[in-house]
C-alpha cells in the first residue's frame, strides 16, 4: 500500500512557521553562536570560536554560583508559597456558601494586572526601612519596635522579593486552580458524601488527584517565570545588597547590558534554558503521578 503525501498545508502554515523562525529560532541560534564565541562590542578583536569556554568561565565564577543559589531559593520558596497559598485560596473560594465569591475573585486577581516593575517599586516603598508600612504594621501586631532593613540585609531582601512575587502571582494561580476545581464532576463528591467521607479524605482522594495534572502544569509555568524573574528584582533591590538577590537572570543582564559581555551572558542564558527544559520534562513525566501521593 502506498502512502500519498499531501503538501497542501505548506502555504497555510508557512507564514506562522516563518514568524516562529524569525522570533524564536533565529534568536536562539544567534545566542548559541554567541555562547560558543568570545564576543563583546567593546573589544577590538574579531570574536574567536571558544567552544564551551564561556561555560567554563561561568562555572569558575563565584558570582555565577551565587546567582544559581539565589535562583533556587526563590524557585523553591516561591513554588511552595504560591502553590500552597493558591491551592488553599482556590479550595476556599470553590465553596458554594462563600458570599461575594465573584467579587472577591475579581479583586484578588488585580495584582496580576500590575506591571512587575511597578510591583517592585510599590514594595520598595512598603518595605522602606525608613518608616515603611510593613515595619509599622509588624510593630503594631508584635507590640515591639520592628525596624527590619528589608533592602539592606541579605536574608530580609530575599524574603522581600519572595513576598512581592507571591503577592503578584498567587491570584493568577488561584484563579486557574479554582477554574479547575469548580469544573470537576460532581458525582464523586456525592458518592463520597453518601459514604460519609471526611473533608480531608475528599480532598486527598478526589480533588487532588483530579487536578494534579493542572497543578503540575501551572507550577512548571510559574517555575519558569520565577527562574526568569528580573523586573521585580530590578525595581526592589537591584540585585543587592551586594549580590544577595542577584538571580542568574539578573546576573546575565548585568554582564550582558552593563559590561557588554554578550557571549558570557548568552552562555548563562543557555545554561538556564537547558536546566529549565530538563526539569520541566522530568516534572511532566513524573509529577502528576507522584506529586500528590500523600
Amino acid at each position: 500500500m502506498t502512502t500519498r503525501h499531501s503538501y497542501g498545508w505548506i502555504p497555510y502554515l508557512a507564514p506562522s512557521l516563518i514568524l516562529i523562525l524569525a522570533i524564536a529560532i533565529w534568536p536562539l541560534g544567534y545566542a548559541a553562536w554567541l555562547a560558543t564565541h568570545d564576543f563583546s562590542p567593546l573589544l577590538p578583536f574579531d570574536p574567536p570560536f571558544v567552544g564551551l569556554g564561556m561555560f567554563d568561565l561561568a562555572f569558575s565564577e563565584p558570582r555565577f554560583w551565587n546567582g544559581l543559589r539565589v535562583t533556587v531559593i526563590l524557585l523553591v520558596g516561591g513554588l511552595l508559597l504560591q502553590g500552597s497559598l493558591a491551592l488553599g485560596l482556590a479550595l476556599l473560594l470553590a465553596r458554594q456558601d462563600i458570599v461575594g465569591r465573584r467579587l472577591m475573585m475579581m479583586i484578588a486577581f488585580l495584582p496580576a494586572f500590575i506591571n512587575p516593575i511597578a510591583t517592585g517599586y510599590i514594595f520598595r516603598l512598603l518595605f522602606s526601612p525608613q518608616g515603611g508600612p510593613i515595619n509599622a504594621f509588624l510593630s503594631i501586631i508584635t507590640r515591639q519596635d520592628v525596624s527590619i532593613d528589608w533592602i539592606g540585609e541579605p536574608t530580609p531582601a530575599i524574603i522581600a522579593v519572595l513576598i512581592a512575587d507571591t503577592w503578584q502571582w498567587t491570584p493568577f494561580l488561584t484563579v486557574i486552580f479554582l477554574a479547575g476545581i469548580i469544573n470537576l464532576r460532581r458525582e464523586p463528591y456525592e458518592a463520597a458524601r453518601l459514604d460519609r467521607a471526611s473533608a480531608w479524605q475528599v480532598l486527598r482522594a478526589i480533588t487532588m488527584p483530579a487536578i494534579a495534572a493542572l497543578v503540575v502544569v501551572m507550577l512548571v509555568i510559574r517555575g519558569i517565570e520565577i527562574v526568569k524573574i528580573f523586573d521585580t528584582i530590578f525595581a526592589l533591590t537591584a540585585g543587592g545588597p551586594g549580590t544577595s538577590t542577584e538571580t542568574l537572570s539578573f546576573y546575565a543582564y548585568q554582564v550582558g547590558f552593563k559590561s557588554f559581555e554578550l557571549s558570557y551572558a548568552a552562555a548563562i542564558s543557555w545554561f538556564l534554558l537547558v536546566v529549565v527544559v530538563i526539569a520541566s520534562l522530568i516534572l511532566f513525566k513524573t509529577g502528576a503521578r507522584n506529586l500528590f501521593r500523600i
Binding site: 567593546l42 573589544l43 526601612p129 551586594g242 559581555e261
Partner: protein, 549 residues
C-alpha cells in the same frame, strides 16, 4: 517662533505669521507695521511689537541658519533635561532647526548610549554623558573630537564670539576631565563640552552648629567652626560631630548626625573620597591628575592597600546607628534629600545641590532655608598611607584635601552625526553666557558652577548669598583640589565592582578587608579582559593634564 499672547484686535495667528515673515526676512519692519495697523492694532502697540520682534531678528542674525536640520539629543529625563526644552528650544526657534529630545534614565546613560552605538545605531547627534563613563564611547570611535571646533574661535570667546568659553572653565575640568584618547592614535583630544561642575562637598545645619556650639566645645575641646570651608579638617572630627548630633531631639523631632549614600551608583564616591583622603601615592599633584587607582607600572589596583581598607572600615562604621539614621546601609540619594529637606539631618556629603534644596520653599522644611546651611570641603586626615614606604606617615597640612570629582556631565557629539556643526552650535548656546547663568539659577536644576566667571557673577552671588561665605569657596576649592574619577575604558565595570563589594561589606557578608580585596580581584579581571597593555597606556596618559593650545 510661537507667540501665545495677542495684541488688541489682532489674532495670534496673524501675529505669528507676521513675526515669522519678519524673522525670515520676507517682509520689512515698515511692512509689518502697516499690516498690524490695517489689522486693527494701535500704532503705538504695533510699534512696540515690531521692535520686540525686530530685536530678536538682530540676535537671530548673529546665529546660524540651520533650517531643515533636525538634531536628536540623548539626555537624562526629568529636571536634568529641562534646558533642552528651554534654552535648546530658544536656539531652535532662532536657527530654524528642530530638536528631537530622547530622554534616557540618568543612572543608565552608559548602558543606553553604549547599547545604541555598539550595535551600530546612529540615532543620536549629541549626548549628555557623564565624563567618567565616556571613555568607552570614545574608545569605540563613537564620539567626535572637538578640538578643531573649539579652536575655530578664541578660547575665551562666548557664543556671540563663536566660542564656547573654554578658557574660563576651571582647570581641573578643562585640562583633566573633558578630554580622552583618540582610539587609533592615542592622542589626547577634547570630547566633551563641560555642562556641569559636579563635585562632592559637605553640607550641614549651620543653625544647629551655632545653637549647640558651646556644648560641643565643652564635650570635645574644639569649636564647631561655622562658615569655615576647611572645617572639619579630618575625618575624625567629622565622625565626632556626627556622633554628637545623632539621635538628638531638636525642634521636636529626632535628628541624625550624618548620612552617607550607601545604595546605587552614587554610593561609589563615599568609599573613594575616604580612600583618597587616606592615600599618599607620589606627589599630591600626581594624585590630582588621577593617579590613585592603579600602579601605573604594573596596572595592579591600589584600592585594596591600607588606605582602601581603612576607607571601607570607616564607611561601614559610619553606617551604624552611632552616627546615622537606622538602616543606613540601604539609604540612597533620594533618602538623603528627604532627610535633609525634612529638617532631620545635621550633616552629610554629596553634590552641592543641598543648598538649593534648602532654599526651595516647595520642598524644604528647614527654617531659614539656605541661611541655615553651611558647606565644607571633604575632610582630610592627619595621617596617610604612603604607597612608597608601605606605611602610615603623619600628615600635617590641614588644608590637604583630595575630594574626588564625582561624576559631572558634558555634551558629546556623535561621530556618526550628519549635523556636527549644528550640534556644536547648540552646545555652545546651552553652555555659555546667559543660558549658563539661567541654568545655575534654576532652583530645581542640579547643575553646578564650573566657569570662573560664575563665582563672580552678581546674580549667582545674590542667589547664594544666604549660603555664603562658605558655599562659593567650598565649591571652588572642591573643584580645584579634586581628584578626577577613573576615566579609562571599563570605568563603569570598575565602579560597579565598588558598589557590589561595598554592599557586601555593609551587609556584613564580607569584612572590609575581604571586600576591598574582592574589589581588587574584580579590577584585575577587568584589566585582563580589556587588555592590560591598552588600559595601561590609557591610564598613564590620562594621569596627566592636557591643555588645548
Amino acid at each position: 517662533m510661537t507667540i501665545s499672547k495677542t495684541g488688541p484686535g489682532v489674532s495670534s495667528d496673524t501675529l505669528n505669521r507676521l513675526s515669522d515673515q519678519l524673522l525670515e526676512g520676507k517682509i520689512t519692519r515698515r511692512q509689518m507695521l502697516t499690516n498690524l495697523a490695517v489689522a486693527g492694532m494701535s500704532l503705538a502697540a504695533a510699534g512696540s511689537f515690531v521692535n520686540a520682534v525686530g530685536s530678536k531678528r538682530a540676535a537671530a542674525a548673529a546665529m546660524s541658519n540651520y533650517k531643515g536640520v533636525t538634531l536628536t539629543l540623548g539626555q537624562p529625563g526629568g529636571k536634568f533635561g529641562a534646558f533642552a526644552y528651554l534654552e535648546g528650544a530658544d536656539w531652535a526657534a532662532q536657527t530654524g532647526a528642530k530638536l528631537n529630545v530622547v530622554e534616557l534614565p540618568g543612572g543608565q546613560m552608559y548602558e543606553k548610549v553604549m547599547a545604541e552605538f555598539a550595535t551600530g545605531g546612529k540615532s543620536f547627534d549629541m549626548i549628555l554623558m557623564p565624563f567618567n563613563q565616556s571613555a568607552d564611547v570614545v574608545a569605540g570611535g563613537f564620539a567626535e573630537p572637538l578640538d578643531d571646533f573649539i579652536k575655530a574661535a578664541p578660547l575665551d570667546a562666548s557664543y556671540e564670539g563663536g566660542g564656547v568659553e573654554h578658557a574660563s572653565v576651571l582647570a581641573p575640568y578643562r585640562d583633566q576631565v573633558i578630554w580622552s584618547l583618540d582610539p587609533k592614535t592615542m592622542d589626547p583630544h577634547i570630547y566633551h563640552i563641560c555642562f556641569d561642575g559636579d563635585n562632592h562637598q559637605g553640607f550641614y545645619r549651620k543653625d544647629w552648629w551655632i545653637k549647640y556650639g558651646e556644648e560641643f566645645e565643652a564635650a570635645k575641646g574644639y569649636k564647631l567652626e561655622v562658615d569655615n570651608p576647611w572645617f572639619p579638617a579630618t575625618w575624625k572630627q567629622y565622625y565626632e560631630i556626627a556622633e554628637f548630633f545623632n539621635n538628638r531631639e531638636i525642634d521636636g523631632q529626632t535628628v541624625y548626625g550624618h548620612h552617607d549614600i550607601n545604595a546605587t551608583v552614587a554610593s561609589t564616591w563615599h568609599f573613594l573620597w575616604r580612600y583618597t583622603s587616606y592615600l599618599k601615592h607620589g606627589t599630591d599633584e600626581q594624585m590630582r591628575a588621577g593617579d590613585v587607582y592603579f600602579d601605573s607600572e604594573t596596572m595592579e589596583p591600589l584600592i585594596n592597600n591600607e588606605a582602601g581598607v581603612r576607607a571601607m572600615t570607616e564607611l561601614v562604621e559610619a553606617a551604624s546607628e552611632k552616627y546615622s539614621p537606622p538602616n543606613a546601609k540601604s539609604l540612597n540619594w533620594g533618602d538623603l534629600q528627604e532627610f535633609w529637606q525634612s529638617g532631620r539631618l545635621n550633616m552629610g556629603m554629596t553634590w552641592p545641590a543641598m543648598q538649593k534644596i534648602a532654599a526651595d520653599p516647595g520642598r524644604s522644611k528647614i527654617p531659614g532655608g539656605m541661611a541655615s546651611t553651611g558647606a565644607f570641603i571633604i575632610p582630610g586626615s592627619d595621617e596617610v598611607f604612603d604607597t612608597a614606604s608601605g606605611s602610615w606617615v603623619a600628615q600635617t597640612d590641614v588644608r590637604r584635601r583630595m575630594p574626588v570629582s564625582s561624576w559631572g556631565w558634558g555634551w558629546m557629539i556623535a561621530s556618526t552625526s550628519k549635523n556636527k556643526e549644528a550640534a556644536y552650535d547648540l552646545t555652545r548656546w546651552m553652555c555659555t553666557g546667559d543660558r549658563r547663568r539661567s541654568i545655575e539659577l534654576r532652583q530645581f536644576a542640579e547643575f553646578e558652577m564650573h566657569h570662573d566667571w560664575e563665582f563672580d557673577d552678581p546674580q549667582i552671588s545674590e542667589f547664594y548669598a544666604d549660603a555664603n561665605p562658605s558655599y562659593f569657596e567650598t565649591q571652588k576649592q572642591s573643584v580645584l583640589l579634586s581628584v578626577p574619577d577613573l576615566h579609562i575604558p571599563g570605568q563603569k565595570q570598575f565602579y560597579d565592582a565598588i558598589i557590589i563589594r561595598k554592599g557586601e561589606a555593609l551587609n556584613g557578608s564580607k569584612t572590609p578587608k575581604e571586600a576591598v580585596d574582592a574589589m581588587a580581584k574584580d579590577w584585575n579581571r577587568i584589566v585582563k579582559r580589556r587588555g592590560k597593555d591598552s588600559l595601561k597606556a590609557w591610564y598613564e596618559k590620562k594621569s596627566q593634564r592636557y591643555t588645548l593650545g
